[in-house]
């Protein structure tokens, strides 16, 4: 573990801390419809959108209406993406002439569920499957909209805490429009230009064919990469333009672009904690969230960095230098890019799974067992460590509700959070969402570890589902567990080592992505509706303080304990035993 490595990690953290307040207040202003410095330019555009779509932004919705709007919007956009993929052969911007043949129905379903839920799991190799039109008009557009929807939901939940005795939680269409127009679009534009400056490509050229020095022929994929790359990180989407994702030099060419991309992942989720504090009129509450998230992030990155830098006993036994030196990075460099090295790869892996991003700049499958446990466990915690755009905040608020409920009783009052009594309905909904997540991950991973297929089965090639694995033993199990964890958690990163492009995996992972997104969101919006309707209990000395270090420790503890208790048996048969073997 080098001082340069520590410096990179510290520098990254400073960037996130510094941007939380300015961006957080900007988001709060935008979302509450106040004037900002962008209003003169984007205001007319916003009003035009409302006019064209017949939206009255002042028309508030109850939680049921808000949810219905969200579901209708997601369903419609997913169906559109499905059609776009299947029909790509008839549509323009397709220099490589990809047709419906490269996108099977199950794959198209998986991909549209994946991008519609902000997961961006990719069962396919983009550069040999999809036309530029699908990448731009399908995937990139979804990158914006699914992130904006996540942000809208988080804001709706925060409104539940901020309001009292009101039946409505905002207008979904207005929240969606404002998030896209004022927050995601301008920032993506700037980010894309910056990425171009680092060497990320942006063109519509056919693929380049070159002859290498050895005289071999090589096809180099091209495309409108920068425009997708920016929002891929900013919207915590993570779906790569290329199969190699952020390890590809055209997506992430330099250490600076790497730092910038990681910064983009945490930028909005970090700022949203401040938005939350500002909207509930107590910024300390927001900073408490920020602190709890930071602690969990730090624990993850230190663990991953430690185990990656120290390699494994097997590496050491085989005479590989695990010590970092002036000329050698040491440690476990398998599956990592030399231009990023160990610290920035471990940091990237932690950040991308803390958030529900799923972009990767190294192969998680090649991490040491405990190094690879970090991204896996991060997702299993529910991606509440800053988390996805909006998703991280609403997930963490759900844990806050649980933490307050479990321990809040110990101050001798019925639990309350931010002046709202946590009662039957809130607990029921929070438990429901936890339960759905655990069920999706465990049941499908369980099925895939034992299910066999007949000859001629539609679902999978004959033999056990585990035949799709490239690694035997506990590592193979980790690969299956990771796939369903990533899908359910709407992360989208792949451990690798598993061929998921068969109907069995495409359809089951597609389903868990939809469940993981919407069965989390619906209960949470119900909570938002119930909270908004409640009176606010004034703070007194008898109130459980939710802004101090004690609450931060409690919240962190509950997140870890709930995650560990649910997944310990599974993890012990995967990464833990692999480490001990």
């Amino acid at each position: 573990m080098t001082s340069n490595g520590w410096f990179q990690i510290a520098f990254f953290f400073v960037l996130i801390v510094a941007s939380a307040k300015p961006l957080g207040s900007f988001i709060a202003n935008v979302i509450e419809g106040r004037k900002t410095f962008l209003s003169p330019i984007l205001g007319p555009l916003e009003r035009l959108v409302y006019k064209l779509c017949g939206i009255d932004p002042a028309q508030e919705q109850r939680w049921t209406q808000y949810t219905a709007a969200l579901l209708a919007f997601s369903a419609f956009s997913c169906i559109l993406l499905y059609a776009l993929q299947r029909l790509q052969g008839f549509l323009p911007f397709n220099p490589q002439h990809y047709g419906a043949g490269s996108v099977s129905p199950d794959l198209a379903f998986n991909t549209s569920a994946s991008f519609g839920t902000n997961t961006n799991w990719q069962s396919y190799t983009p550069e040999t499957t999809l036309s530029y039109l699908v990448q731009m008009a399908g995937l990139t557009v979804h990158n914006f909209l699914s992130a904006a929807a996540g942000l809208a939901i988080a804001i709706a939940l925060v409104r539940g805490f901020a309001r009292q005795s009101i039946k409505t939680i905002g207008n979904f269409w207005a929240d969606l429009t404002r998030s896209t127009l004022y927050i995601l679009m301008p920032m993506s534009l700037i980010a894309a230009i910056f990425l171009c400056s680092q060497g990320v490509i942006q063109n519509l050229h056919p693929y380049t064919v070159v002859t290498t020095l050895e005289g071999a022929k090589q096809i180099i994929a091209q495309g409108p990469v920068a425009s997708q790359e920016a929002v891929k990180m900013l919207g915590t989407n993570g779906g790569g333009f290329f199969n190699a994702n952020s390890a590809h030099p055209f997506e992430n060419p330099t250490p600076l672009s790497n730092m910038f991309e990681m910064f983009l992942i945490f930028l909005i989720p970090g700022a949203l904690t401040y938005t939350f504090g500002k909207m509930v009129r107590d910024t300390r509450q927001g900073w408490a969230m920020f602190a709890a998230m930071s602690l969990l992030w730090l624990a993850g990155v230190v663990t991953a960095y430690h185990y990656e830098q120290n390699g494994t006993p097997i590496l050491a036994r085989n005479g590989i230098a695990v010590q970092a030196s002036a000329t050698q990075p040491g440690g476990n460099m398998e599956g990592k890019e030399t231009r990023f090295g160990i610290a920035d790869s471990a940091l990237f892996a932690t950040v991308t799974t803390d958030a529900s991003c799923g972009a990767v700049n190294s192969m998680h499958d090649s991490f040491t067992p405990l190094g690879g446990l970090v991204p896996l466990f991060n997702i299993q915690l529910g991606e509440v460590v800053f988390g996805g755009v909006g998703a991280g905040l609403y997930g963490m608020l759900m844990f806050a509700i649980l933490a307050v409920f479990i321990a809040g009783l110990m101050v001798g009052r019925t639990p309350e959070y931010l002046g709202k009594k946590i009662e039957q309905k809130e607990v029921k909904m929070a438990m429901l969402s936890l339960l759905i997540l655990a069920a999706c991950i465990l049941l499908f991973a369980g099925a895939s570890s034992v299910i066999p297929f007949d000859k001629g089965s539609y679902w999978n090639p004959p033999g056990p589902a585990t035949a799709n694995l490239t690694n035997p033993g506990p590592h193979g199990f980790s690969e299956i567990l990771y796939a369903y964890t990533s899908g359910t958690g709407n992360n989208g990163s792949a451990f690798g080592g598993l061929n998921p492009n068969t109907p069995w995996y495409n359809l089951t992972i597609g389903v868990v992505m939809l469940f993981g997104r919407f069965f989390m969101i619906i209960p949470l919006l119900a909570v938002a509706g119930s909270l908004a309707d409640k009176k606010q209990v004034p703070v007194s000395a008898g109130t459980f303080p939710t802004h101090g270090p004690l609450f931060v420790a409690l919240l962190t503890g509950v997140v870890i304990v709930v995650g560990a208790l649910t997944y310990f048996p599974a993890l012990s048969l995967g990464p833990l035993i692999e480490h001990l073997l």
Binding site: A407, L409, M410, R413, L442, P538, A541, S572, I577
Partner: protein, 692 residues
């Protein structure tokens, strides 16, 4: 004195935690409660019972097939049943204490006869035939046949059957001491009562039903907690069920060991689900009600006790709660040219025949301060002038001395009328006393103003500390008084309450409660009069005094049988204690799981993946013993925590932050650590006994 009496009574009422008859009955009830229909109301324990039933079936299969190792299955099965029984026992114990109380109350309900008045004639009828509106006569040694209002007469009544207080109380018509309770006994004199409730609906009936728990409904917080632990149970069910395919994958890929059997998976499940809180939850609730009962407060619902813990604002009547019932003389302030002794002497003479508490306190003060002994009234040949509304004075005429005492204005008028001089100093002293919240009482002799007696409301000892405690608990205290704002402010300052409502009418009280509630606060109050009824009904916690009117008792959600308004403070503490106990045991229960994983998971896969033994950090000596030790520990912890559940976690009046820090450390961190040595010890014992 009051405190001593309270303490005595509490000592008498409090039963030992494990009263042998109660324990015996609870043991029997624990088996009766195995009925799945009863148990289904408790999702966690129901899962344990289903698991135990499942392992029982598997056990018989093993025995029938002569499979080796059924001894292990037998022990697991046995301990799973124990787990259910222990939880049942906890609940039965909590209920048993209530039942024992109900039994003693029922004895008061023996069939009695009533002297019913029909057209002025007495008819002897069975008490059970009385209906609302009937009028009865009760004479010495009669049991009062039903709940009623005294409409005529006055009597001393022994209410010990209800209150446990042996000193008789006075019941008379009119005012706030007119309610009588069926089953109590007239000791002297007579009263005529009008029956106010039909048979089966009397206060005693309701009380029996309440303490027996017949009307016990789950409280909102209990339901929410049940949902959470049921959710956790489902999550752990998923974790255990999916462990089977995960294990199969592991066994196939390692080519060693075997998939853990159903018995082991059930054992793991039972260890993980929150059985500690699941088993004790209803006992905690019942015991909370019971604790309120032991303080001689009758809570109409568990919800009311729970709400007491949440109270933000406490409305306390000044008289009787904050101050001793009456004003007392605290100083003699003479006018110029008069000595304090002269004033005291005159004041004492004027008060000798004054039987009011104020009058008596003047005699006592003169005696204590100036050694003036109370003189024999008859020896003085004195003529006493009683207080009249016209003169607003009282006094004495003797041996040429005419002494008068009264409100300063009245005395001034009296002095000036009789041609005397009313010194400016007396007016000034009076004003000063009024400003400080006291009551001035001027004294004049033979047309000369001697000075002023300072009467003062005396704040009960220790009240200030209690209010300070309330403040640290985040509870605002508001004093309610009929006094003028000046007096009220002074007393409020002295007692240390946060706020006061002066010249309060019942309407003002109701408005204050509504105002507090509108800003999200929960309000508790005490009251006794019929005019308190609307406010009692509006308050979140309304404690009616037992001496109060029936209307007040109907309106409140608690009745204090001792009629001690200070008790509200204890009720709040009990409510908080109830919630803390629930939170503490929930946290403890979940925290316990960490150690259980470390015991069971390595034991399950030790053959498939031998290196997993490194996770066996407790060094448990065999896989069987590890699993068994975890199950046994899990069962024993329930029984070990029964006293805590029944008694409640000790409540300390601290701020929320300090309380949380303490309890998190004890029950959270303690809950993580405690099972490690616990399971280790059980494992050793099993080894020594060669049980595993």
């Amino acid at each position: 004195m009051q405190q001593v009496a309270d303490a005595l009574k509490r000592g008498k009422r409090a039963r030992p935690l494990f009263d042998p008859p109660i324990v015996r009955r609870a043991l029997i009830d624990s088996f009766a409660k195995l009925n799945p229909r009863t148990l289904a109301k408790n999702p966690v324990m129901f899962v344990v019972e289903v698991g135990a039933a499942l392992t029982t079936v598997l056990l018989f299969q093993s025995i029938a097939a002569h499979r080796p190792g059924w001894g292990f299955d037998f022990q697991i099965t046995l301990w799973l049943w124990f787990t259910v029984l222990f939880a049942n026992f906890a609940e039965a114990m909590a209920e048993g204490r209530g039942k024992a109380q109900a039994d003693s109350l029922r004895k008061a309900k023996t069939e009695t006869f009533a002297k019913k008045l029909v057209n002025g004639k007495i008819e002897i009828v069975p008490a059970s035939s009385l209906r609302k509106g009937d009028i009865c006569l009760c004479e010495p040694n009669d049991l009062i046949p039903g709940d009623g209002e005294v409409i005529d007469g006055i009597a001393s009544v022994d209410e010990s059957v209800i209150t446990g207080e042996s000193a008789p109380v006075i019941r008379e018509s009119g005012g706030d001491r007119s309610a009588v309770t069926g089953g109590t006994k007239v000791l002297s004199d007579w009263i005529k009562i009008q029956i106010t409730s039909n048979p089966g609906e009397t206060f005693l009936d309701r009380m029996i039903a309440l303490v027996e728990g017949a009307q016990r409904q789950k409280t909102p917080n209990e339901i929410a907690l049940n949902i959470m632990i049921a959710g956790l149970t489902l999550i752990f069910l998923l974790a255990c069920v999916t462990l089977a395919p995960f294990a199969q994958y592991a066994v196939v890929s390692a080519g060693a060991g075997k998939v853990p059997g159903l018995v082991v998976l059930v054992a793991l499940l039972v260890c993980l689900i929150p059985t500690t809180i699941g088993g004790l939850l209803s006992a905690i609730g019942i015991a909370g009600m019971d604790r309120v009962m032991q303080h001689n407060v009758l809570a109409m619902s568990g919800k009311a006790v729970e709400a007491a813990g949440d109270v933000n604002t406490l409305l306390l009547d000044k008289t009787g709660t904050i101050t001793l019932g009456n004003r007392q003389a605290v100083a003699f302030l003479p006018a110029e040219g008069v000595t304090a002794e002269e004033l005291a002497d005159a004041a004492q003479f004027s008060s000798l025949a004054d039987e009011t508490p104020e009058g008596r306190s003047i005699v006592v003060l003169a005696k204590e301060k100036y050694g003036l002994r109370g003189r024999e009234i008859s020896a003085l040949e004195a003529e006493f002038i009683p207080f009249s509304a016209q003169t607003r004075m009282s006094g004495v005429n003797m041996h040429g001395r005419a002494i008068r005492k009264g409100a300063t204005e009245s005395i001034k008028r009296y002095v000036l009328q009789s041609g005397g001089v009313f010194s400016q100093a007396v007016s000034e002293i009076s004003d000063r006393i009024s400003r400080d919240g006291g009551t001035p009482l001027a004294v004049a002799e033979n047309g000369r103003a001697l000075g002023v007696i300072h009467l003062k409301d005396v704040v009960k000892g220790g009240m200030r500390q209690r209010f300070d405690q309330m403040r640290t608990m985040g509870i605002r205290t508001v004093m309610i008084t009929g006094d003028n704002p000046l007096t009220a402010a002074a007393i409020a300052r002295e007692a240390g309450v946060d706020d006061f409502l002066a010249q309060a009418t019942p309407r003002d009280k109701l408005d204050l409660i509504r105002r507090e509630q509108a800003s999200g606060r929960l309000v508790a109050m005490t009251g006794d009069g019929t005019n308190d009824a609307p406010a009692l009904a509006q308050a979140d916690v309304g404690v009616a005094m037992n001496t109060g009117t029936m209307a007040a008792k109907e309106a409140g959600n608690m009745v204090d049988l001792d009629s001690n308004p200070t008790k509200l403070i204890e009720v709040v503490a009990i409510g908080k204690q109830l919630l803390i106990t629930r939170g503490a045991l929930t946290t403890f229960s979940i925290a316990n799981d960490v150690a259980k994983y470390f015991a069971i998971i390595p034991a399950m896969f030790t053959i498939t993946y031998p290196p997993l033994a490194k996770l066996n950090i407790m060094r448990l000596h065999s896989p069987e013993s590890a699993i068994l030790a975890a199950v046994i520990f899990n069962a024993l912890i329930i029984i070990a925590l029964v006293p805590l559940a029944l008694r409640g976690v000790k409540y300390r009046p601290l701020s929320a932050g300090a309380l949380l820090r303490r309890n998190l450390l004890v029950y959270g961190l303690g809950g993580i650590i405690a099972p490690f040595p616990g399971i280790w010890v059980v494992d050793r014992v099993l080894g020594i006994l060669h049980l595993a």
